[in-house]
């Protein structure tokens, strides 16, 4: 406990001198501090174990009293930096009231300690007394350095609403809303029955807002109030029983127009979808417009476009893969996510260089409650840990860090050894994330961080003629800076800068590939609110990547070409070169609320591809019309735009590819309606069409040599539906259905055939229910059309392999059997303490042990055909997790 002793004005600065007596014999302030306008009372005290309350003194002892002092100088560098501090000194005071020794107890740096010591040397005390006799004592003495603030004008206000976190957002009355500064509560109100609240007559400045209501998990956040303005906010409280995942993950679908309409899937939903191991990104596969990828392939197939045409970003930084080895786990753990923007098509102009979908993963901010939180989870595949909290010895910095490593190698290699096979495998993956961040005034946010992933696989099989050793390394990391700030009252800026390392090594038998790139990404988006109905978004999007390629690979055979046997035995094409590629772009988008219900977003993007020398101009527009407002809201939406995907770098390398290749062009159109059916249930229906042109494929040229050519085209048409029950206290679920047809024509004289991942019907049903007492059960059912297949009508013996190659029938002329799978999940949670929970879960993949028989297989000479199943066998996965 302590009390301020004195406050002195130093020019335009103030130094507050505090005295706390904590000597061995007594503890009492010697004087009452003088009040000072605009300066809050001291809030912190040094440790004072055994210190009696202020105002008390031990019997017979009188504490020392300041007679004379010289205010300390405010350190210039600290002043310029806007720093404040409290320096605690330990003083030895002689019987004649002189300071015989002074030392700093809690160094503050920035010149504060030296200034305090210099001032302490000039202190003079009335000595302490015992039984009216002066005695020498040791005391603690505080100097508080505080910058003078201009008188505050209390003309800011703050209003908002408190609701229940669920799809219906029911209002919550009686919630306490507290605004505080430096730990002192300045205003406190209760929300009304409709959840609304308002606090007025507040000085401008930064506040801590705390929202609490018994039975709900409290919220805190930092709020910046501006003079003569009323800030508005809405707070969604989550019932304490529903705080399973301490994260808030948003998955949004096609935004038409941007920031106006999007789908939201709560963290609880993402973490509890059966069959996904709690992995949020895998949950994307259950949304409309997404095809079922081959089991454990890790591919993202959106709206009938090629997997290579979809892009994955982490806060604007491209990552080469969303998953470790074929989709076992995503490279960013769910608990790190703030939200996931998932665009199945017709996205805004801030994204480019692709014709498929976009997944933009936003890392969440660290919690701001000044305590440490973490988790540890382990299951059959990997273990992970995560920690977050304030950065030690800093005032405003927080950190968020995590790491995950697979442990498959730890049990697989011994298992294979024990089976005495000639087969060995050592798959290892890990990922890591570490961020530090700070939130400053003026809506400023700054974050530095690194995230990366590493997959390594070595397969050794000398028992097979086609065996040998396969080595594969996929590594990437990115150093990333993210800065958001308000440049002017209605102008915001978001800057993403990253420099990374990207390495892919692959070798098997005769072929090998070594590839290293150092991509530099600079993106900036300026948002200017021009009027109440007009908002402009614009900025550059630069990509520069020095790279080194070194590979030995045969020529590529394009799709829909006859089986020519193992390409491992063909002559190698070798390439070794260092180069760099530059792909700058600029985008601008206008978000206009033309009328009360009509929202139009026209945009344009200009991309330059240095390696091909091509400039691509992509105009796009999206429109949304609120046909009906209120609880049964109806929204019509549509979009139309051009999208360009530049050639892969290898395709334009001089000496390997064709430098004059053009970008693939996609013309996308969509039209749909969203209907709110009840508080919890909504329905979305949308049709889409994609016209693909200038697709690149490998075909023999006039001289008979295989080369890349812009001779293919494609067409995708379809519709999708999402019927959804948004999460409430007990239940969530949805039904997703997509009907589509995707075709390709790989050459001018070739027939139109089905795209290899075309799936006519894609149905996913997801549901989960909280039983109570910490139990939750759920399931996922998928029914999907089989992929197109090209039958083998006979075999042709080839000498090089001493085996047969397939003699193809008509390409993609058959379809595999439909895919069905039911996955189940059960979870039990124990609340070990207020902060700590223990969760155990059991997932059963393919609970019915169904074999879909959807992959054709043939006898050695292709004279007999059969089928095998692509789905996993009945596979239980048990996991345990601790959150604190």
């Amino acid at each position: 406990m302590h009390r301020p002793l004195a406050r002195h004005r130093i020019g335009s600065w103030k130094a507050l001198v505090l005295l706390l007596v904590a000597g061995p014999t007594f503890a009492q302030p010697a004087a009452t501090p003088a009040p000072s306008a605009g300066a809050p009372p001291p809030a912190d005290a040094p440790p004072g174990g055994g210190t009696p309350p202020p105002g008390e003194a031990r019997a017979g002892v009188t504490p020392p009293e300041v007679l004379q002092q010289v205010p300390p100088e405010y350190p210039e560098t600290a002043r310029d930096a806007g720093l404040e501090a409290t320096v605690v000194l330990r003083l030895d005071i002689s019987r004649d009231g002189k300071v015989t020794h002074a030392e700093v107890v809690e160094p503050q740096g920035h010149g504060f300690d030296e200034a305090a010591l210099r001032a302490a040397e000039q202190l003079t005390f009335r000595p302490a007394q015992r039984d009216r006799q002066p005695i020498a004592v040791r005391i603690l003495f505080h100097y508080r350095f505080q910058l003078e603030k201009p008188p505050a004008v209390a003309n800011a206000s703050f209003a908002g609403k408190v609701v229940l976190r669920s799809g219906a957002e029911s209002p919550l009355g009686g919630a306490r809303v507290e605004l505080s500064q430096n730990g002192v509560v300045l205003q406190s109100v209760l929300s009304a029955a409709d959840g609304s609240f308002r606090v007025a007559a507040l000085p401008a400045g930064a506040y801590q807002v705390a929202i609490s209501l018994p039975g709900f998990r409290p919220l805190t956040e930092t709020l910046q109030l501006e003079a003569e303005h009323e800030a508005a906010a809405s707070y969604a409280l989550e019932p304490e029983a529903a705080t399973g995942a301490a994260i808030d993950v948003t998955v949004s679908g096609t935004r038409v127009p941007a920031d106006v309409s999007y789908r939201r899937v709560e963290a609880r939903e993402l973490a509890h979808i059966a069959g996904n191991r709690g992995d949020a990104l895998q949950a994307l596969e259950n949304l409309p417009g997404v095809a079922r990828p081959p089991t454990l392939s890790g591919l993202l197939i959106v709206h009938g476009t090629s997997p290579e045409s979809s892009q994955i970003f982490v806060d604007g930084t491209y990552v080469p893969s969303m998953y470790h080895f074929g989709g076992l786990s995503s490279v960013v753990p769910t608990e790190m996510l703030d939200h996931v923007d998932f665009f199945t098509g017709n996205y805004g102009v801030r994204y480019g260089r692709g014709t498929g979908g976009v997944v933009d993963i936003a890392i969440r901010r660290a919690r701001e409650d000044d305590t440490y939180h973490g988790l540890f989870q382990v299951d059959l595949l990997d273990a992970r840990a995560q920690l977050e909290g304030p950065v030690p010895a800093s005032d405003h910095w927080r950190f968020l860090a995590g790491v995950r490593r697979s442990h498959v190698d730890l049990w697989l290699i011994p298992l294979l050894d024990s089976q005495d096979t000639s087969f060995q495998a050592a798959p290892v993956y890990y990922d890591y994330q570490a961020f530090v961040e700070t939130t400053g005034g003026h809506d400023s946010y700054l974050r530095f961080g690194i995230f990366g992933s590493d997959d390594r696989l070595r397969l050794t099989n000398r028992g097979s003629a086609g065996g040998g050793q396969l080595d594969q390394v996929n590594t990437f990391w990115n150093l990333q800076l993210l800065h958001e700030t308000r440049l002017a009252p209605k102008v915001d800026s978001r800057t993403e800068v990253s420099i990374g390392y990207f390495r892919q090594n692959f070798s098997f038998a005769t072929v090998r590939s070594e590839f290293v790139a150092y991509p530099l990404v600079v993106r900036n988006e300026i948002t200017a609110k021009l009027t109440d109905h007009l908002e402009l978004h614009l900025g550059p999007d630069l990509l520069y990547a020095p790279l080194q390629s070194n590979f030995a690979f045969p020529s590529e055979s394009g799709p829909a070409t006859p089986d020519s046997g193992s390409f491992l035995l063909r002559p190698l094409r070798m390439f070794s070169d260092g180069s760099a590629y530059l792909r700058p772009a600029f985008f601008a988008e206008l978000r206009a609320d033309a009328f009360e219900r009509l929202h139009v977003v026209p945009g344009i993007r200009v991309d330059y591809t240095h390696d091909s020398g091509q400039v691509d101009v992509s105009p796009r527009v999206s429109v949304k019309y609120d046909l009906a407002l209120g609880p049964r809201k109806t929204v019509l939406k549509g979009a139309y735009g051009f999208f360009y995907e530049p050639p892969q770098v290898r395709q334009t390398l001089t000496g390997y590819g064709q430098p004059d290749l053009r970008s693939v062009r996609a013309l996308q159109a969509s039209l749909g309606v969203e209907q709110q059916l009840s508080e919890q249930i909504s329905l979305s229906v949308e049709g889409f069409h994609i016209d693909l042109d200038d697709l690149i494929t490998s075909r023999p040229n006039a001289e008979g040599r295989i080369e890349y050519q812009n001779i293919a085209e494609g067409n995708v048409i379809g519709g999708e539906l999402l019927l959804r029950y948004e999460a409430d206290e007990h239940f969530f679920g949805w039904l997703s259905y997509t009907l589509s047809r995707s075709t390709r024509r790989w050459g001018p004289s070739e027939p139109e055939i089905l795209f290899e991942f075309d799936q006519t019907h894609i149905l996913a049903a997801v549901a989960s229910y909280r039983l109570g007492r910490g139990w939750e059960v759920g399931g996922r059912l998928r029914a999907v059309s089989g992929n197109p297949i090209t039958p083998c009508v006979s075999g042709l013996y080839t000498s090089f392999e001493n085996a047969y190659v397939c003699v193809n029938g008509p390409f993609q002329s058959q379809r595999a059997a439909p895919f069905y799978e039911l996955d189940l999940r059960a979870e039990k949670r124990w609340q070990l303490s207020e902060q700590t929970t223990l969760t155990a879960y059991l997932e059963v993949i393919n609970a019915t042990a169904r074999e879909n028989d959807d992959i054709p297989v043939y006898s050695f000479d292709y004279s007999q055909q059969g089928y095998t199943s692509s789905n996993l066998p009945l596979l239980p996965n048990l996991g345990v997790r601790i959150d604190f």
Binding site: L299, T317, Q419, Q469, R583, I706, T798, S859, Q864
Partner: protein, 405 residues
């Protein structure tokens, strides 16, 4: 958006990932995957099979001639004999004394060099032209082939291919790799008679018909295929060379015989020998009947456990050559990749194995542990080992066993 380039390995990797190959392999290894349908094993010739093609030399040389031949076998008579011995079918009628075995029909279609796309499919238009010019049925001997077709067509177990002098002209596709030329030679092996089939546009335009009924025959009697020959501006490839093919560590002395008495004192390791006439692999080449030889004698294995025998291959050290076409820029030429595939009857410990790999080097464990078949038959039972390198070289080893009760 930032989009780093994809290396060429990605396509292969993407294919592998699409097949889920890595994890499928692992999962299947752990026996937790659904099993594939049961198909006849590739190692066991149940009808007409091509076991190997042999090229001499084992790679192309501009302006030089290649001699191609097949190691082919018709396993149907042997299986019929085994089924009869097991009581599963009636014994086949004995051929009349002195009757020659019916030879397999073999025809060759060649002359396709550097086709479009460097794949066999680029030859199909040429094959169609050749087929349209062929007589129907095909002649049974080379003497009946029109002179203008001699470069493109041949019959019997042997065909000569002349590599064009200019096959490497204009073939420098990339500065960092050796230019190459590629030649495709197609063939068909048939238990009956071969007829041209120009309507076949996606394979070898020949059909196989029964000698008596003229009905078309299927894959058990008909094998179409092709031989790929690469030509580099470097020393031509040589086939792997076999030093010995020991049985249980012992080499069998080659001794002709007329009866078991001639073999009474001959053994190989712990195995005695008996006198028998091996079944010809390539009857079409057999101008004379295969002579009787002393062959290792084993007991049939109606039920396990049975004795197994190690069939080993001893290769000359020079069998593993350098592969100059795979030399990385600024690097040295790596070794060839060698592997072996086993064919035949009885129990096999493996069907194939690597002998030399670039990453893991020489594999010491590639021998076959063989178990005799369940029933005894009169004909000796063959086992083949086909050793290949990754540049088209081939070596053929064969063991024959007399199996008695």
């Amino acid at each position: 958006m930032a989009h780093p380039p994809r290396p060429p390995a990605e396509r292969f990797r993407a294919r592998a990932q699409r097949a889920g190959s890595v994890w499928l392999v692992l999962a299947q290894l752990l026996a937790c995957f659904p099993s594939s349908p049961d198909f006849p094993p590739a190692r066991q010739p149940r009808g007409v099979r091509v076991l190997a093609t042999v090229s001499e030399p084992a790679g192309g040389i501009p302006g030089a001639e290649l001699q191609l031949r097949l190691e082919a076998f018709d396993g149907a008579p042997l299986l019929a004999e085994a089924e009869a011995a097991a009581g599963l079918s009636e014994p086949a009628a004995e051929p009349p004394d002195g009757a020659e075995p019916v030879p397999l029909s073999i025809a060759w279609l060649g002359g396709c060099h550097n086709p479009s796309g460097d794949t066999q499919a680029g030859c199909y238009p040429l094959l169609g032209e050749i087929a349209r010019a062929l007589p129907d049925p095909l002649p049974s001997s080379g003497g009946a082939i029109p002179a203008e077709l001699a470069e493109y067509f041949g019959v019997g177990n042997g065909f000569s291919v002349r590599i064009p002098d200019d096959i490497l002209s204009g073939r420098q596709l990339m500065t960092a790799a050796l230019p190459f030329g590629v030649s495709f030679t197609f063939f068909a092996v048939c238990r009956g008679i071969l007829r041209p089939a120009p309507e076949v546009t996606n394979g070898v335009p020949l059909r196989c018909h029964d000698r008596q009924t003229d009905e078309p025959l299927g894959s058990e009697a008909f094998v179409p295929g092709f031989v790929t020959t690469y030509t580099y501006p470097a020393e031509a490839n040589r086939s792997p060379a076999l030093l010995a093919t020991p049985i249980d560590g012992a080499e069998l002395e080659q001794r002709l015989c007329e009866s078991d008495a001639d073999c009474a004192e001959l053994s190989v390791g712990t195995l005695p020998t008996a006198c028998a006439r091996p079944v010809s692999s390539t009857p079409a080449l057999a101008a004379e009947p295969v002579p009787q030889r002393c062959l290792p004698l084993v007991s049939a294995c109606p039920a396990p456990p049975c004795d197994s025998h190690e069939l080993a291959l001893q290769l000359t050290p020079s069998s593993v050559e350098k592969d100059p076409a795979a030399t990385p820029p600024g690097g040295v030429a790596p070794d060839e990749i060698l592997w072996v595939k086993y064919f035949g009857y009885g129990g096999f410990s493996r069907e194939e194995a690597l002998i030399n790999d670039r990453a893991t080097g020489l594999n010491p464990d590639y021998a076959l542990h063989w178990t005799p078949p369940a029933v005894a038959i009169d004909s000796p039972v063959p086992v083949w080992a086909i050793v290949q390198d990754n540049r088209g070289g081939t070596a053929v080893a064969r063991w024959d066993f007399v199996v008695r009760p």
